[in-house]
Symmetry: C2
Subunit: 267 residues, 2 copies
């Protein structure tokens, strides 16, 4: 079924949105054809935007990394789940007092955007759960108290673990689950991929209709699903977490399956 | 429906098993009729046994508290979820190397029982999750690595939170959920109430058939359910977490519903 889509004629889009790890690069090296393809798309006048669910690095860090690897990229062409969280909260709870189960970079982005961070459970308007390698019981206790006091409960992302050489680091799914379990309260929204909030932030940045955009990534259930749900085309690249066999068993049917980013170039 | 069971004639049993908080005492005071009833049962030659799901206090501490409140109790008449975990592991994994997400008292009980505790994920045979007010990311990482290396995964108890004056403390459900979420691995066994492992440890201690025992507690889904599942009678006391209205809506039908422990005395 899915295999037949490989041979589908590649359409031309106005904006090309890319997942990063496993799609554009792996660790410290660009994946085959990634650099040439993205450079060529830019020469053709296409917009290129890069996405990450990882809230522990800033947009600047991703832009610097892409630039270092040979793809000069402004900070404004990178969107991560911290950025989407700021956008989400500014639209819905401007001026809210927040308790953050997260790392310093997320705390900094929220403070810079004008939100007040507090450890005082009784004044917390929303608990923000995130990938937090400084997670500890004290934070769990404050989140518990705040939610029982009526605070709302959101998360940047819901990844189970973040791949690192030789293994993984427990990611935001662990922090969310711990808070959900003790409070018996389901998280209200996760703003990272595959949520509509991330798509909303991207389309807000691009100011283009969704059907002029294509989202490319190595995971069906986050990258491709988000694109399809938002009305974009969705391309699965086989350079990362998903094999062709895995794709054939999934209910999520990408618009295109490609072996490398070079296949995105319109014929 | 359930109300009619209040008027059921109280049978006589050989052993009376009690939950503690909300059943025998609340905080630092015995509940009405609790002291007199347990003293009278003992005078009649009945066995009395006390249970707690809380793994952070030792059997000695519970025995001392009961004694202080006027009910002299030997350590051996108290069973908590740490004790059941030791019993469970001794039967199934003697000599196992364990990584404990838990507090010092649990670590001590496991060490005393001859188990080796290790932080080296690659040599862990089983991860033991528990109520842990010293929980931190470092422990989550070791549990993650160990389970991905093939370690088994058990917990002392699965309570969402432990009631404390004015609120609660996030309990073992949070630690279990965090580990389950990042590893995508379901816990294999929770040995505390309402599990059959706890009933097995009680009946092993009493050396009596289950039908000669009655389990009394203030929670249907832990205390009463455990008793009924094990073949004991199960009495719900309305002195704690469960009201008569809540009981009427539950699928768990206790053998008796009582207003205080005095109603346990055979007519």
């Amino acid at each position: 079924m899915a295999q037949s889509t490989v041979k589908m004629m590649m359409r031309e889009f106005d904006a090309y949105i890319f997942d990063l790890d496993g799609t554009v690069y792996l660790g410290e090296a660009l994946l085959p054809n990634a650099g040439e393809t993205i450079t060529r798309l830019r020469e053709m006048g296409k917009r290129t935007v890069f996405l990450s669910n990882n809230p522990t690095k800033t947009r600047e860090e991703y832009a610097q990394k892409l630039t270092r690897l040979g793809l000069p990229t402004p900070d404004s062409d990178v969107i991560n789940s911290s950025y989407v969280m700021v956008d989400f909260l500014q639209r819905r709870m401007p001026g809210a007092k927040l308790f953050v189960v997260g790392e310093q970079s997320l705390r900094d982005e929220l403070t810079k955007a004008g939100f007040t961070l507090t450890d005082n459970a009784s004044e917390v308007d929303a608990v923000i759960a995130s990938f937090d390698r400084t997670f500890e019981y004290r934070k769990l206790q404050i989140a518990f108290d705040a939610i029982r006091h009526g605070a709302r409960f959101f998360a940047t992302n819901a990844d189970r673990y973040c791949p690192v050489p030789g293994g993984g680091e427990p990611d935001a799914a662990a922090m969310i689950a711990a808070i959900e379990a003790c409070t018996d309260t389901k998280i209200e929204a996760v703003v990272g991929k595959p949520s509509a909030y991330m798509a909303e932030a991207i389309l807000g940045l691009l100011d283009l209709p969704a059907e002029r955009c294509i989202m490319t990534g190595d995971r069906l259930e986050t990258d491709v699903l988000m694109g399809l749900n938002a009305g974009m085309a969705g391309a699965l690249t086989l350079t990362g977490a998903t094999s062709e066999a895995m794709a054939a068993q999934s209910d999520i049917i990408p618009t295109y399956i490609i072996h490398h980013l070079g296949e995105l170039l319109p014929i």
